[in-house]
């Protein structure tokens, strides 16, 4: 229950009401005071003062002064009349409630309006600032443009001047030339009849004499010495051919398209793999030298596969793997053998191992990867794991979309899958 502050005193004039409210030791700030047109409340918990005013006041201009344990209100009346009392006497609870709510609403609205107004002014200030900066920048830009324009005009003028110089020089030379030509035609005719068609009357623009005013004249010549010079020119060279060869490239792609890093990695891996020799050689001592060479063993295995001797081929590959377990082709070929022998799980294992070793994926090991996927796919299908099989076939197609067989097989598998799904 709040403690009501009732010891207030007030006096009035025609225009204003002066209300003094002692605070009984409580400290007040602006936040504790709530005032609207006809309602005044001061709430400093646990103290509370509330008054429904006799007549509306101008709450924007009214003031409240806090100090000396007292709040002093100066309320300007809206209507200039003397009030009978400070508050409305016969205010019933309902009316009070209504007035309170109204007051609160009004205050809200006012607050909103104020924020709106603030926002608008802020925006306008911003706009103004922006325009001012833009103007400054425009001015700067214009200044630079002007400088550039001046430069341009200066340069254009110089060019015109130069061009006119050219024209004048040409005209002058033409006249000169005609004079010279008449002088020189006689000896020329005598000496080089066949070169006459080359000495033409020069037309505007073609000129080359020692009298040229502008710079850039390369060597003094008159027509006369030009012809002499022609005689001194060396004969055309005897035709020869120089053979060239071009820098070879491991991968023929342009630098920016090549996946150089990956290709290098692949080459490196291959080189490494060939150098590995697995060391459990104790049982292998009675083998012949060539039988210790994984490549030789691989070839042997390939031959046996070709002849249909799948078990023999597997043995050869097994031995090769024991000697060097990093060659992907060994696993790849062994997978093929297992397929033929219907050791489907082993086929899957070997194809997987081969694919592992065939990273990073580069154009060089494309073929091998396609084969690995196809073999593994086939094994899956024969185990009736059609979805896995299809996955491998699709991977193979992705690497090599041109291969029609793979496409056909993939289609078949898809049909199979759809068939089983429908029937189940």
């Amino acid at each position: 229950m709040p403690v009501w502050l009732r010891e207030h005193s007030w006096r009035q004039t025609l225009t204003a009401v002066y209300l003094s409210l002692p605070l009984r030791g409580a400290r007040a700030t602006a936040a504790n005071i709530f005032c609207s047109e006809q309602y005044l409340k001061v709430s400093i918990p646990p103290f509370l003062f509330e008054a429904v005013l006799y007549a509306p006041i101008d709450d924007t201009n009214s003031t409240a002064k806090i100090g000396n344990g007292n709040i002093f209100f100066t309320l300007y009346k809206k209507e200039l009349a003397m009030w009978d009392s400070l508050t409305l006497a016969n205010a019933d609870k309902g009316k009070l409630q209504y007035l309170r709510e109204n007051a609160v609403l009004k205050a809200h609205e006012k607050a909103k309006e104020e924020t709106e107004a603030k926002k608008i002014t802020k925006q306008e200030h911003k706009k103004y600032a922006l325009e001012a900066t833009m103007k400054l920048e425009e001015a700067e830009r214009k200044r630079i443009e002007d400088l550039k324009e001046k430069e341009r005009q200066k340069v254009a003028k110089e060019l015109e001047l130069w061009k006119n110089q050219q024209k004048d020089a040409d005209k002058y030379k033409n006249i000169q030339k005609r004079g010279e030509l008449h002088q020189e035609i006689e000896p020329l005719k005598e000496r080089k009849k066949e070169k006459m068609n080359k000495t033409r009357i020069p037309n505007e623009g073609s000129s080359k004499t020692r009298l040229k005013p502008t710079k850039g004249c390369h060597g003094p010549c008159s027509m006369f010495s030009e012809n002499l010079k022609e005689e001194q020119l060396p004969a055309p060279r005897s035709a020869t051919t120089i053979k060239v060869s071009f820098t070879p490239r491991v991968f023929p792609t342009a630098l920016r398209e090549s996946r150089v890093a990956e290709e290098e990695e692949w080459l490196h891996k291959q080189a490494e793999a060939r150098r590995i020799i697995n060391s459990d050689l104790s049982e292998l001592e009675d083998l012949k030298a060539e039988e210790k060479n994984p490549d030789w063993l691989k070839d042997k295995g390939n031959k046996m596969f070709a002849m249909g001797n799948y078990l023999g081929a597997v043995n050869a590959y097994n031995l090769a793997v024991r000697l060097n377990n990093k060659l992907p082709l060994l696993y790849l070929n062994r997978a093929a053998c297992h397929l033929k022998l219907r050791n489907l799980h082993k086929a899957i294992e070997d194809s997987s191992k081969a694919l592992e070793l065939l990273t990073p994926p580069v154009p060089d090991n494309e073929n091998a990867r396609v084969k690995a996927h196809v073999r593994r796919g086939t094994a899956f299908c024969q185990l009736e794991l059609y979805t896995e099989g299809l996955q491998d076939y699709e991977a193979a197609l992705k690497i090599n979309p041109e291969n029609k067989n793979i496409e056909k097989d993939a289609e078949k598998i898809r049909h199979l899958i759809q068939g089983t799904m429908q029937s189940s």
């Binding site: 015109e160 037309n203 623009g205 390369h218 120089i242 920016r256």
Partner: protein, 359 residues
């Protein structure tokens, strides 16, 4: 902008001309304010247009149409009076035209089986000494040197060994033509090979590989003892080789710079200052560079052989003119700083580079 920035050379765009065909090469006509644009019209024929610079615009003086699209051209091997244009076209034909009477070529040969990608000429224009010669590099992997006085057969042919795979030749350049006998041809290929052929000894003098396809090679000057060679490539890199000192195994010293993310299509040295050159890029930008020589251009290695020391390259200015690659670039030999460039947005632009005197 601080004033210091305005002290650097500026690239000022003087004239822009929209064309209705694809321009592959543009060249100034020597001793004049005229320029040529070479390219391919939409209907698949070749086009040569002659423009004259009039104030702030280009006036079309002449248009010549030929059956096959034209890829490249040069005035390098012609005399200053004749100013015949040598062109290479998409069909592998080398033609030399008299622009006053362009109906029939002065010289014509089906030099290559495939498009001639690049052409260069030397011995003409009063520059250098020796016979006038033209070199062409083609997609068929061969580089051939022609003498306009000899019909049908080239005077030198650099072709792949029989049976080996061939690589497209993308660019060729003459150099070292400081007297009547000496001459070299440098060729760049699409696999990054750069080969230097000595025409006096008719042999391969040096080769190297810069990993990315070589779009353009140029010596800083053709008519002096070979000094510097710039080679540009795909992926925004270019290399400057110091050609004065050849080491027996390491070849020529070089410095390389990565200018931008896109292909550098062309490099052209300023005719009036051989240490300044401009590169044009696939992103439509132009970069102006200056080469600085090292304190000592050569030093001895551990075995006592001479090896070159490369200097450094600094960027003077860069500007973006277009969204499409600028595929061709030519400095005017008569006015310092005047240049023309052609881009794949079917526009040819005449530019002026200022303050080159202050470098």
């Amino acid at each position: 902008l601080p004033a210091a920035c305005m002290e650097r050379p500026q690239v000022v765009s003087h004239v822009q001309q929209a064309l209705n065909y694809t321009v592959f090469d543009c060249k100034w006509v020597p001793r004049s304010a005229r320029l040529l644009c070479l390219g391919s019209a939409a209907r698949g024929t070749g086009l040569v247009q002659l423009y004259e610079l009039h104030g702030a615009r280009l006036e079309l003086l002449r248009e010549i149409e030929k059956p096959k699209p034209i890829k490249c051209g040069t005035f390098g091997a012609t005399s200053l009076q004749q100013r015949y244009l040598a062109t290479g076209d998409f069909d592998g034909n080398l033609n030399i035209w008299n622009l006053e009477a362009p109906e029939i070529p002065v010289y014509s040969v089906k030099g290559h089986k495939e498009i001639i990608n690049s052409i260069d000429g030397v011995g003409g224009l009063g520059i250098g000494e020796g016979a006038p010669e033209i070199v062409t590099g083609s997609r068929d992997g061969t580089v051939k040197v022609w003498d306009p006085r000899q019909k049908d057969t080239p005077v030198a042919n650099m072709e792949p060994v029989q049976g080996e795979s061939k690589r497209d030749c993308w660019t060729v350049a003459f150099g070292n033509a400081y007297n009547q006998e000496e001459r070299v041809v440098c060729a760049g290929y699409d696999n990054g090979d750069i080969k230097l052929f000595d025409l006096k000894t008719m042999s391969l003098r040096w080769e190297t590989n810069i990993k990315n396809g070589v779009c353009s090679v140029e010596f800083d000057r053709k008519d002096i003892n070979m000094n510097k060679l710039v080679a540009t490539s795909l992926e925004g890199k270019f290399h400057v080789f110091d050609m004065r000192t050849q080491h027996p195994t390491k070849g020529f010293a070089s410095v390389s710079e990565k200018a931008q993310k896109s292909t550098i299509w062309q490099v052209r040295h300023l005719p009036q200052n051989r240490d300044v050159f401009m590169t044009s890029g696939g992103s439509g930008s132009l970069h102006l560079w200056k080469y600085e020589y090292p304190a000592q251009r050569s030093k001895k290695d551990s075995e006592g052989s001479e090896m070159g020391v490369a200097g450094s390259v600094s960027l003077l200015q860069n500007v973006t003119l277009s969204t499409q690659p600028i595929s061709s670039l030519d400095w005017s030999p008569d006015k310092k700083g005047l240049c023309v460039c052609g881009a794949f947005d079917q526009t040819v632009r005449v530019l002026i580079v200022t303050k080159l005197n202050k470098i």
